[in-house]
Symmetry: C3
Subunit: 456 residues, 3 copies
């Protein structure tokens, strides 16, 4: 190929590479719009604004800290510990690559996609701990999970040179492990120290359901998260003008991802619907569990198999939820079940269904043992640091708000605003004739009409 032609094609590929990940970032913003709606809806009305503020602050602090710390860790730690490789040095915040640079059109866009992954990981945990955690403790923990712990996991097991690939043949193309498992198990570690909300369990241990104040808003939020997942999953592939590859460098197609993402979503919803007997929160969370449940093998499953695996993932989560209640774990949004549980399931299923499938570059083939060890690593990496840091905070009384504040509601104590100052009142309207009519909401409602003449 003549060099000028090759140059033109390479440049075009690079331009489209930027476009591709820019869209990935934009779609992942919807995950955060969705999280805000989802978690606000899942709170009681006395805590609504405190929840929204936690969401915003988690996003902002993770983006900033991921620039200064997280991206470096990803590039420095594939071998297990920090090594000052070229890639690591290029990821230092003062490097030429970490800013506008027409000679490097890729770093910013990759950093951005990873930063959104980081914010997602930190935000998954945030839902679990709502309604009783201190904001300061929350911010420390969300930065720990979002800008340190998960990205070390990604360097180890979701990187073309990560030791989990080179030693174990670990396979998790859709980040079910480094994002979802780590977020879910970190949530579990914190929840053990944080304890349940007041009134969540009776003295004898019987669980009491504390209901979302606005379940429809929670459901709309999850639908936005589903949309944003398409940004997340396209962020899991490597674009090149010669074809797509997984994060491990093996060839793949967006067609494979489309088949299995959609079949996973469908299977997860149906599985959770059946196993929860139509409970709405679990049913819609089942969609998430379904996608996560097939994420590790998105590149290789047959779509019908993905549907069946996702049925299992969706069907599993209500039981994990019940199991956690037995241990008096109070997880407001089911993060441990949906992300931790389905993430673990996802990693293990790859070991069952794809064992023996070869990896590229002389790395070991996929194996059940490799997946199992990888799962244990991610469990530990998610659980231990979050458990220890939250335990330390608990010891010095920094983890949880005082019970009287919790009973009263966080908004009143923390937030100089109020979510629904008018409530949502019944309203009246002017009818076709000009009369004012108190609205007949349905057949049971009484119609009250004020004739036009009597209206001032």
């Amino acid at each position: 190929m003549p060099p000028d032609v090759e140059g033109a094609i390479t440049t075009m590929g690079s331009v489209n590479n930027e476009f591709f990940y820019w869209m990935s970032i934009a779609l992942m913003m919807l995950i955060h719009a969705g999280f805000l709606a989802y978690e606000v809806g899942a709170s009681r009305s006395k805590n609504v604004l405190a929840t929204a503020m936690k969401n915003l602050l988690a996003f902002a602090t993770i983006i900033a800290s991921f620039f200064f710390v997280g991206w470096f860790l990803y590039n420095a730690m594939p071998s297990g510990f920090i090594e000052m490789t070229d890639a690591a040095q290029a990821a230092l915040p003062w490097s030429d690559n970490m800013g506008p640079n027409t000679a490097d059109s890729a770093s910013g866009i990759f950093w951005g996609a990873f930063a959104l992954f980081a914010a997602t990981t930190g935000s998954i945990m945030s839902g679990a701990v709502l309604e009783r955690i201190r904001t300061s403790a929350f911010l420390v923990l969300t930065v720990l999970v979002g800008s340190v712990v998960w990205i070390i996991g990604a360097a180890w097991g979701w990187h073309g040179a990560g030791w989990m690939l080179t030693e174990l043949g670990f396979h998790d193309v859709g980040a079910a492990g480094c994002v979802h498992m780590i977020a879910g198990f970190a949530a579990l570690g914190i929840l053990i120290n944080l304890g349940p909300r007041l009134g969540r369990f009776k003295a004898d241990g019987t669980p009491v359901t504390i209901r979302p104040h606005n379940l429809p808003l929670t459901m709309v939020g999850l639908m936005l998260i589903f949309t944003g997942f398409f940004g997340f999953l396209m962020g899991c592939v490597i674009y090149s003008n010669e074809g797509y590859a997984t994060i491990y460098g093996s060839p793949t197609t967006l067609s494979a991802f489309a088949f299995n993402t959609l079949m996973g979503l469908a299977g997860g919803i149906i599985g959770a619907y059946m196993m929860s007997r139509g409970e709405p929160f679990w049913t819609i969370s089942g969609g998430l569990a379904g996608v996560i449940g097939v994420a590790a093998g998105l590149d290789l499953y047959h779509p019908a198999l993905a549907f069946i695996i996702a049925l299992g993932a969706g069907g599993l989560i209500p039981y994990i939820g019940k199991l956690l209640e037995k241990f008096k774990i109070d997880d407001v949004v089911g993060a441990v079940a949906v992300h931790g549980g389905a993430g673990l399931y996802s990693v293990v299923m790859v070991g069952i269904f794809l064992a023996g499938y070869p990896n590229t570059d002389g790395n070991p083939s996929i194996s059940l043992w490799g997946q199992f060890v990888g799962a244990v690593v991610f469990m530990a990496l998610g659980f231990i640091p979050a458990y220890l840091v939250s335990l330390g905070m608990k010891k010095i009384g920094m983890l949880r708000i005082p019970p009287e504040v919790e009973a009263q509601g966080l908004d009143l104590a923390e937030v100089p605003a109020t979510p629904y100052p008018e409530g949502i009142p019944v309203t009246v309207m002017r009818g076709d004739t000009g009369d004012i009519v108190a609205v007949p909401a349905d057949d049971a409602g009484e119609v009250v009409t004020i004739p036009k003449e009597e209206v001032k």
Copy 2:
């Protein structure tokens, strides 16, 4: 062109083709987020969660059944009846093309876009029948519409080899016929058998408006649907590195689509606003009617003409709504008017304004007669199967929930959860001084202050 250069360019085109339809799928997910918000808002509060569950289950069952049945029908039926062509065999669920396959990077992404079209078609109908249909009957009907009927219509009239193109010169680039008309007329067929909600018509036939419990949520939902429509419409063109084509293979541009989509949206809103005298539900639905009203000729209209045609589409729908009320048809979301009515209008307008425009490959030119026959085919294909199946279900008492359940609300009977357990209460907040203030919502509200000292 040297073969290696040609190969490199073809490969790059194929990579970007995948990217293009992946984005189409992702944006169409917003249609479903929007439908959920829209239909939940349009329900009464006693049916809110049952509505949301129907949305989720429609989506999940259509995606799954479209993998096993729908995609095959599209590829097998362009000639009118099932033929086992190569394309048909490649669309069988056990074919090599229907799964991850690095030698076929296109099938999954095309399937995915069509699957989202299918889910949209099935979901359009779902809004019409809310608040009194049995879930089991609903699922059968939504799969019938979403995975069987519309896709046969698409094979016939929205396919480069479909008989409606080759025999009639039928032209409907934006799927106003196979998606919107079929969904709308299927809804009509079901509504005739299903009957109106209790209290929707008085004994003398006078209609009683049953209001959406949360009209703002319905409006936000429609705005998300508008966004998702850009995914839908890009899914209506064929990407290639040599330029875009319509589904019929004639050359087109996204510029044409952008001009006419936006002018259609604007015209539809204005038309519906004027003709409904500012009724919000019809006004925002007018945006949808406007886009649908110009969809069939998006590739060819002048934007000023598109604006005028859309004015007509938007202006028409409130009248169709009123006409349906005369026949005691109770369509909760106006699906028959907005999708059936504006879809029919769209197909016919092409016959009026674009008659004589040549089609490619020796197919007949666009004609009013061809559009008219095409419209009748889609009306019949939408109406008849849905009418007959719902009639059968009615005969065996499977179509509608018992009146006492309907009066009480579906959520109480069907759903183990509740949407707004606290209502949306008036909340209090802490003022700048530390006093707790019962919030003065506006100038008419009474301010109640509890001094800081008296707050425990």
Copy 3:
């Protein structure tokens, strides 16, 4: 390069160019979904639907008028006054370029992206004037701002041949000036004539906070706007298969935009949180202020600098809000502070931090003086026409609704519908045992159970 290869590469670039801006348009639709949610939430419940209708009508009238007038002005006025250049003639509504045309695949898609910018500009102003402006006056003003004034500003200062670039070296790649400043200062001009809402200031001038009826909805709306901003910002670059350029033709990368957009968002949220002491409305608006605050220099700032500049932008807006209150300016959504204030700040910061940076094509380098003059031009262009037209309307009594309508609420007077006919009532549900349970929302709620046997 052989001509056939060059042709193939150029064609592919053109195809992807259309794809790029189509995505920009689609994402910007989310800005309008977000504006609707945001402004509806920010209204009192008595004005909710009137607010939503204003949003829809602003969008529709701007899109239509931008086709007939706005796009021509952009292409005709870079030199300062209307000149009938080739570009201007090609932008006339009856030109061959302003409609479907396979020989011009770019005009429609550029027009579409600019039309969405126009709708954004007009809609920014709309939030400021809610709850007391006449719909007719509003529509005149929104078209003035959205289809005339801002686009003249864009022709002058956001165009490769604009006189502000060629004379002053003005630099504002992210449209902080022509979009945000103009919208913000236009809002200010109107607000002076419109006056505050009834009850917003006491007789002695003390401000009274009028609270959003649904702050969570406002926050979800802003999150959608953040997502849409990625469409807005990609619409600020020029795609080509040889690399990205700013609107001024200087080379840039999406990587630079990704770094600085995300760091701007993070910095703005944190700055506003700190300076408003955790007030939710200002905190989330701080995200917007942060992005706007760095928008003018997105291509050139180091991300750490962008973070710091955005901290300042976010921290500034609550003070601008307070300052406006001193002058009895009642800006419902903070548009003057967030868009006008942060936009001005953004343009000036470029003068401080990027002074001396060379522009392309022999244009003057960036300078503080050039930025300052540019800022004054945009302030004047935003403020003066909007002030004068609204003053004229005020004189003839066309600007503001009568006080009795305002007190009663606009919905009752203007809109034949009602937003929440049922309020959002407390609901009951059926428990696991089949008993009906009045829901225990939290530990303070009383559980009321109706045994299954007593339920009819």
